[in-house]
Amino acid sequence: MNFDFSDDQKLLQQTARDYLAAHSPLSTCREILESDAPYAAALWKGAAEMGWQGAVIPEEFGGAGFGHLELAMIAYEVGRALAPIPFGPSVFVATEAILRHGSAAQKSAWLPKLANGSAIGTFAFTEKPGQNAAEAIAASVKDGKLSGVKLPVADGDVANLAVVAAKENGETGLYLVDLAGSGIERKTLESFDPSRSQATIRFDGARCEKLAGADANAIARLLDRAAVLTAFEQIGGADRALEITRAFIVGRYAFGKPIAANQAIKHRMADLWCEIEIARSNAYYAAWALANEDAELPVAACLARIAAADAFEKTTIEMIEFHGGVGYTWEYDCHLFYRRAKQLAGLLGTPKYWKNLLIDRLSTKKGAAQAA
C-alpha cells in the first residue's frame, strides 16, 4: 500500500518546479497575456529539453520514456506556473492519440517532433458552443480529404499538427492533419485567457490520415486520459492561487490585525483547502488508474475532472475577493488565475458532460456487478 508518488517522481517534480521558477515566473504568463505572442516559445523549447513534451513517448521515438505518473507531476507544475505554452492540447491529447491509435509510420513521423518540441499538436473537436456529442460532428472525410470548420481549437493558430474529429461514411473517427498542408485556413480568436491561444480552423479538402480504431468510444477514452492530466494542471493552479492568497492575507493588516485572523476569511480558506484536497485525492486515484490502465480509469477520470475544475474556479473567485481592491486590478496576478481556471474548465467538455458520464459509468458498473 503506497498511495503516493515515489521519491523519484517527487524529485522530477521538484526539478520541474525549479526550472519553472527560473524560466516561467508569473511575469512570463503576463507577458504572453499582454503581448500578441501566442505562447512563450523559449519556455516551450526549454520544456522539450527537459523532456516534458516527450514524457510518455518511448525512447525509440525520442521521448523520455517516463510514465503517466511522471507526466502528472509535470502537468501539476505546468499548472502551478500558469505556464503559457500549448502543453495540454499537444501532450495530453495529440500525443496520446498517436501513441494509442497511430500506425508505426504515423508514430515515426510525428512522435519525435512532438517530443523535441519542434511540432505542436492540438485537438480539433468542437464546432459550436454548448456540449457536442461525438455523433453530432459535421466535419467529414472523403477520399482522404477533410472538410469542415472547428471552433474553437486551443492553440489552433500555432499548432503544426491537428487531431481532428470527423465523420467518414457516417462513422466518427479521428484524423491526423499536417497543418502545413493546403486547404487549411486558420484565424486567431480573442481568448478569454489571452495567455493561452485560441483559433478557428477551416478545412477545405485538407489531406488527412485516419487514426486506426479511434471511434466515438475511443475518443471518450482519450478525453478521460486528458482529463486526468488536466486535473493535475488545475490542482497545480489552485494550490498556487491558495498560496498567494495565504501570503497576502497574512501580511495585509486591517483593524490592527492580519485580515487572515477574520473567520470570514480563514474559514473560507479552510473550505478551499478541503476542496483542493478532495480534488487532489481524486486526481491521485485517477493517475494510478491511468498509469496502470486500470478498469477504474473511466470512473476515476470523471471524479478527477469534476473536482479539479471546481476547486480551481472556486479558489480563484475567493482569491480576488480576499485580495480586496488590488485583487481587481490588472497589475495584480489574481486575474491570471481567474482566467486560466475558466480556460481549463472549458476544455474537454462541460461539467454536465462529466457528471452525467460519471453516473452512467457508476450505473453500468453496478449493473454489471449485479448481473455477474
Binding site: 473537436f125 454548448g130 480573442e190 493588516y253 486591517a254 489574481c334
Partner: protein, 412 residues
C-alpha cells in the same frame, strides 16, 4: 397592498414624463453598460449638457433644497423620477458621485457659505466631483487611513495617497478625509475637507481593472495646500462626516444591481445546444436558472418594498446592504454558469463569443462590484450587527492611539 401611484404621485409622474418626452428620446432595448468605461471628453460634455438642461427645468437633484437650486421634492418623487428617466436615452452619468455622495455630505455638514459655494454648480453640472477616501492600506478599515494634513497658518498641507477614485481626472472638486492627529484613537484623528483637484501637488494615475476598464484612479498628494475654509465640520470630526458619505454610497450602489438580466439566461439557453437539444430543455439547466431567478426577483421585490417604505416617509436602513451582497454573487454565479454551458467556447471572448459576451463581461466585472463600496464581508458585518443586533467583532485596535495600531507582521 397596491402597486398604483397615489393621485399626487401620478400627477408628479405625468409631469416628469411629459418633460422627458419633450427633452429626450425613449430608450431602445440595449444591454446596460456594466464595466467602467473611458470617460472621453465627448462623454463628459454630453453628460454636463444633460445635467444643465435638467437643472434649468428643476429636474436635477430634485430632493435638494430649493434655495441651492434643488426642487425640494420627496424621496418617493425622486424614485418616480428615476423610474421615468430610466425609460429614456440619457448620456453616461459623470455626476453620480457628486450627487449621490458629495452633495448630501456637504448639505448635512457644511456651513451655509460652503453650501452656497458648491451646491449650485454641482446641480447645474458645471463642476464635477469625486471622492478621496480609500487608501492602499485602508479599504475595509477606512478609518485606518494614513494620508495626513498638517495645519500651516490658514492652510492645511496634505501628503499621502488615495485610491479607487472614480473620474478623478475630470473633476473640479473632491471630498477628502485625512488624518490630522495620529496620537489619538484612529476614528478620532480624522478631518474632512473639500479639495480642488487642480491644486498643485496632485497627481492622478489611472488604474486598469481586470476587465481592462479604467474607471478608477490613484491620486497622489505631495504638499497639497487646502485653505481652512474648505474644511467640513470640526477638526477631528472627519469620521462622523465620512459616515454620512458612506451611507449614501451604499444606498446608491445597492439600488443599481441590474439583476433583471438574470432572466435573459432562459433565452440564452435556448441558443445553446446540449447533446442535440436546446439547453433550455435540460432539467439541471432549468432548475439552476430557476434558483437564480428566484433570488433576482426577490431582490427586485425587495427594492419595491424599500420604495414603499420611502413612500411612507421611512428612511431605508442598513438592510439596503442586502441588494449588493446577494446581487453581486448571484450575477457572478449566473455568469459562470452561462460560460460553463457554452462549453469549449467559454475560452473565447469578444466577437468570437457573441452570445456569451455579456455574461463574460459580468464574470470579469462582478468581482469588482463585490469589493467596491464595502466587500461582501463588510456588508455581512453590517447586516449582522445593525439589522440583527449581533455583537461587533473583537477589535485588536480598540483603545490604541492610531500610531500604535499594528499595520503589518511583526519584524522578525
Amino acid at each position: 397592498m397596491d402597486f398604483n401611484d397615489t393621485p399626487e404621485e401620478a400627477a408628479f409622474r405625468a409631469e416628469a414624463r411629459a418633460w422627458l418626452e419633450k427633452n429626450a428620446r425613449p430608450r431602445t432595448s440595449m444591454t446596460p453598460t456594466i464595466s467602467g468605461e473611458d470617460l472621453t471628453a465627448e462623454i463628459v460634455k454630453q453628460s454636463q449638457a444633460w445635467q444643465k438642461k435638467k437643472a434649468e427645468s428643476g429636474w436635477a437633484c430634485i430632493t435638494w433644497p430649493k434655495e441651492y437650486g434643488g426642487r425640494g421634492a420627496t424621496p418617493i418623487q425622486n424614485a418616480i423620477w428615476g423610474q421615468e428617466q430610466a425609460n429614456f436615452e440619457t448620456p453616461p452619468d459623470v455626476f453620480s458621485i457628486g450627487i449621490g455622495m458629495c452633495g448630501p455630505t456637504i448639505l448635512t455638514h457644511g456651513t451655509p457659505e460652503q453650501k452656497k459655494r458648491w451646491i449650485p454648480k454641482l446641480i447645474t453640472g458645471e463642476e464635477i466631483w469625486c471622492q478621496l477616501f480609500s487608501e492602499p492600506s485602508a479599504g475595509s478599515d477606512l478609518a485606518g487611513l494614513r494620508t495626513t494634513a498638517v495645519k500651516q497658518g490658514d492652510e492645511w498641507v496634505v501628503n499621502g495617497q488615495k485610491i479607487w477614485t472614480s473620474g478623478a481626472q475630470i473633476c473640479e472638486w473632491g471630498i477628502l478625509v485625512v488624518r490630522t492627529d495620529p496620537a489619538v484613537a484612529k476614528h478620532a484623528g480624522l478631518t474632512f475637507f473639500v479639495v480642488n483637484m487642480h491644486s498643485p501637488g496632485i497627481e492622478i494615475r489611472p488604474i486598469t481593472q481586470i476587465n481592462r476598464g479604467q474607471g478608477f484612479n490613484e491620486v497622489f498628494f505631495t504638499d497639497v495646500r487646502i485653505p481652512d475654509d474648505q474644511r467640513i465640520s470640526a477638526v477631528g470630526n472627519g469620521w462622523a462626516v465620512s459616515i454620512t458619505t458612506l451611507m449614501n454610497e451604499r444606498m446608491s450602489i445597492g439600488s443599481g444591481m441590474g439583476v433583471g438580466a438574470i432572466e435573459d439566461l432562459v433565452g440564452f439557453m435556448d441558443g445553446i445546444e446540449i447533446d442535440g437539444r436546446p439547453a433550455s430543455e435540460d432539467r439541471q439547466v432549468r432548475e439552476r436558472i430557476a434558483e437564480f431567478v428566484v433570488k433576482a426577483r426577490g431582490l427586485k421585490y425587495t427594492s419595491l418594498r424599500t420604495l414603499s417604505a420611502l413612500s411612507q416617509g421611512k428612511t431605508p436602513g442598513p438592510e439596503a446592504s442586502m441588494s449588493k451582497l446577494v446581487g453581486a454573487v448571484l450575477q457572478q454565479h449566473a455568469a459562470s454558469f452561462a460560460m460553463e454551458m457554452a462549453g469549449t467556447s467559454s475560452a473565447l471572448r469578444g466577437e468570437a463569443a457573441p452570445a456569451q459576451a455579456a455574461w463574460q463581461e459580468r464574470y470579469l466585472s462582478l468581482p469588482g462590484l463585490r469589493i467596491a463600496g464595502g466587500t461582501d464581508e463588510i456588508l455581512r458585518n453590517i447586516i449582522a450587527e445593525r439589522v440583527l443586533g449581533l455583537p461587533p467583532d473583537a477589535r485588536a485596535d480598540k483603545g490604541l492611539a492610531f500610531k500604535d495600531v499594528p499595520t503589518g507582521p511583526p519584524k522578525a
